[in-house]
């Protein structure tokens, strides 16, 4: 069962990075995240699985799709990189994986046994008790991110006095499709 979810995760992740169509990539990402949620469930973390589905699949992926839709000009806009670069990326990624696998294989972690998982109530206590400060800091971070994102993405208003469009909104460079 867990191997199935692992396979789903890896396969859909590969599709995410290889798919020519951005929308497909995002959908494959949703698949990966769902697989991860299933993995969480198998790791005795049902609350995590639920949050994963809700925030990731429900929030992040939706956001991504919006982003793609808003910024997309034409289908297949993913300008293909040349083969040299793909090879380079492949070599580096493979090398890293081999090295990591080697490190894992050399470590004694294989002998670890599963421990009893905390209940959701325990989790809530930990979150709002032991890790309260981190929790609050995180809420601040989210607030800052939201404000920042709004500031970045908002369309500049015309200058109230001169009526000129702000310079930043005019493309500095003509792009020929």
């Amino acid at each position: 069962m867990s191997y199935l979810s692992s396979a789903i995760i890896l396969a859909s992740a590969l599709f995410v990075v290889r798919s020519k169509n951005l929308i497909h990539s995002v959908l494959w990402l949703a698949m990966t995240l769902l697989g991860t949620a299933a993995l969480y469930a198998q790791l005795d973390a049902p609350f995590l699985a639920g949050v994963q589905v809700l925030t990731y699949v429900g929030g992040v992926v939706t956001l991504m799709i919006f982003g793609v839709m808003v910024t997309r000009r034409h289908e297949g806009a993913n300008a293909p990189s040349d083969h040299g670069e793909e090879d380079r990326g492949f070599i580096f990624a493979t090398a890293l994986f081999v090295l990591l696998a080697l490190a894992i294989w050399k470590s004694p972690m294989a002998l670890a046994t599963p421990q009893p998982s905390p209940t959701t109530a325990q989790l809530a206590h930990a979150l709002l008790d032991d890790y309260l400060i981190a929790f609050e800091v995180l809420s601040l971070l989210l607030l800052a991110a939201i404000v920042g994102a709004v500031v970045l993405a908002r369309r500049r208003d015309p200058d109230p006095i001169t009526g000129e469009e702000p310079a930043a909104t005019t493309p500095t460079r003509e792009v020929t499709p």
Partner: protein, 599 residues
């Protein structure tokens, strides 16, 4: 004023003039004000020198004042100051008189120069007089060396006065190189002296070995400065400078500085008989050799240049014979009559616009005063009885006779014959015979030119009678007695003049004349030097140049190239593409992981 103050004034007056002209450049660029300021400085110098002389005649004694120089941990390594004694005072007067005459002469002679060049010329003259006076009054060898180098510098600048003319620029560089090469000797001599005695005084008493080395090194400098064989080759080329410059620097004063140095350092030379023997021979050979060369020159100034070299050979020979006074006396008389000769030659050149003897002829009809002046100078140089050169030359020859140096004595006697012969030749070719084409419109150069001639003609005639007085000043004995030397010398002189008359009287048509004209041994020495220069110095220079170009520059270039190349390579890393940066990050991770795994 005290003698010290007067000597300082005499030394510094031209320096002030030169400094003012250097700093206040509009004065220099205007030309005429520079001339008058320089002459004013010279007049002040001469007045101070004459006052010193008068005081001296009134019984004043030697004066010396110094200030510490080059302080090292509170201890002065050397001294700077003035010394007024029987050697420096007559020399000071001679230098100032000749310099003033030459400067006055130059006012007219250089009149056609552009104002800037005119100003530059006189500024250099003021600088020269200062430098020469520094040499003359210096109380020790170090200050003398400083002045020595300064006159070398002004000599270089004045020879190269017409620096736009390639031959002048080349001559200046040649003179500079030759004298600098010799000046290395001075420097080494100073170093040896200081290391072994801790002093730059010429009154120190080092061991014979040290004295020999020091004097030998000093003599090398003398060979260069006083144009002795085999370093004499720069002097004829130095005639590229304006004629008054030749009169002052390359006849009367600067080239005589070498002789002056030996006279000054006589106590040291007295300790080194070996050096004196060498000097005797070098001087004698130079006297004959240069006289031969003077015989065959077709350029009036070059005749005089070689004759200067020859006469300096006399002085050096006298010094080598141990009679410093004889050398000094000849130096004094020579300064007057050779300056006179050069200025008269300048007057001639000014009149006919040419240096070549062949362009001259019959000038006695057009330039009577110049002819008279040149005649006096020539007869004095030839040692005609009664003229200044007669007395001093006899003294030189007598000093050799006294020491029984018969071979150098014969050489100098022969040289005396040659001197009379070539001066007779010049006299006949330039002033006798028919009027040449170029001399048609010749005329005297006005009072500014003839005045100095008249002034200098007096000592050229009469300074020989001052020998007795000069001898008392330097504590030497002086008495002319009718012996072998005066008789032979006089007959040589008359014989030379007569022979030249017979050979050249009909415009140089006698069978001997063309043969003599073709005899040009000078070029041999010059060629030897230039070959040595090319093979030796240029060889080393090209080797050094190669090393510099390919090894030093190569290293520099490699550094630059590697930085550039490295930059070019590194630039490709900075593609500005996010992916490439990400790749770099990944590469870093891979490397770190690798390290972690391998540990």
């Amino acid at each position: 004023m005290s003698p010290v103050t007067l000597a300082v004034v005499a030394t510094l007056a031209p320096a002030v003039a030169a400094l003012v002209l250097l700093v206040v450049f509009p004065l220099r660029h205007r030309g005429a004000p520079a001339a008058w300021l320089t002459i004013l400085g010279s007049v002040v110098s001469l007045a101070a020198a004459l006052k010193l002389l008068v005081d001296r005649l009134g019984g004043a004694v030697d004066a010396r004042a110094t200030v510490p120089w080059i302080l090292e941990k509170g201890h002065a390594m050397a001294e700077l100051g003035v010394l007024v004694d029987g050697v420096s005072l007559p020399m000071l007067v001679i230098v100032c008189v000749v310099a003033l005459c030459v400067q006055l002469f130059s006012v007219a002679y250089m009149h056609d120069e552009a104002p800037r060049a005119y100003g530059r010329y006189f500024t250099l003259h003021a600088l020269f007089l200062f430098s020469m006076n520094v040499v003359v009054v210096s109380p020790n060898l170090l200050q003398l060396f400083a002045g020595w180098e300064l006159v070398g510098l002004t000599s270089y600048l004045l020879i190269g006065f017409y620096f736009a003319k390639p031959s002048a620029a080349k001559a200046a560089v040649k003179a500079f190189w030759m004298t600098k090469l010799a000046d290395m000797g001075f420097l080494f001599g100073l170093l040896i002296l200081f290391v072994s005695t801790g002093s730059f005084e010429w009154t120190t008493q080092p061991s014979t070995l040290v004295a020999t080395w020091v004097t030998a090194m000093l003599f090398v400098a003398v060979i260069g400065k006083s144009a002795q064989f085999p370093l004499h080759i720069w002097l004829p080329d130095a005639m590229e400078g304006p004629t008054p410059v030749s009169a002052l620097l390359h006849a009367a004063t600067m080239v005589a500085a070498g002789v002056f140095l030996v006279v000054r350092a006589d106590p040291l030379f007295a300790l080194a008989p070996a050096t004196r023997d060498v000097m005797l021979w070098v001087g004698s050979i130079t006297a004959v050799f240069a006289a031969f060369l003077a015989l065959v020159q077709s350029d009036l100034k070059k005749v005089l240049a070689f004759s200067t070299s020859s006469q300096l050979g006399y002085m050096v020979a006298a010094l080598g014979a141990g009679n410093a006074f004889a050398g000094f006396f000849h130096l004094g008389t020579h300064a007057f009559f050779k300056a006179l000769l050069f200025l008269a030659a300048g007057s001639v050149i000014h009149a006919v616009h040419s240096n070549a003897l062949s362009d001259m002829g019959g000038l006695r009809k057009k330039l009577p005063l110049t002819t008279a002046a040149f005649g006096i100078g020539a007869l004095s140089l030839a040692g005609f009885p009664g003229f200044a050169g007669f007395f001093s030359k006899d003294l030189v020859l007598t000093s050799l006779e006294d020491k029984f140096h018969w071979v150098p004595w014969s050489l100098l006697m022969f040289s005396a014959f040659l001197t009379a012969f070539y001066m007779g030749r010049v006299l006949i070719k330039a002033f006798g015979g028919e009027l040449s084409a170029k001399a048609e419109h010749a005329h005297e150069g006005g009072p500014a030119m003839t005045g100095p001639l008249v002034v200098l003609a007096v000592p050229a005639l009469l300074s020989g009678f001052l020998g007795g007085w000069l001898a008392t000043q330097v504590n030497a004995s002086y008495h002319l007695h009718l012996g072998l030397t005066p008789v032979v010398a006089t007959s040589m002189s008359l014989l030379g003049l007569g022979a030249s008359y017979f050979v050249f009287r009909n415009g140089g048509t006698a069978p001997l004349a063309p043969t003599l004209e073709r005899l040009d041994a000078f070029s041999l020495v010059d060629k030897t030097w230039s070959t040595g220069y090319q093979v030796g110095l240029l060889g080393v220079a090209s080797l050094a140049g190669w090393f510099d170009r390919y090894v030093i520059d190569g290293l520099i270039n490699f550094t630059g190239w590697s930085a550039l190349e490295g930059g070019q390579r590194a630039r490709t890393l900075q593609t500005g593409r996010v992916r490439d940066y990400a790749l770099m990050v990944v590469a870093g991770i891979v490397v770190l992981t690798l390290i972690g795994v391998l540990r």
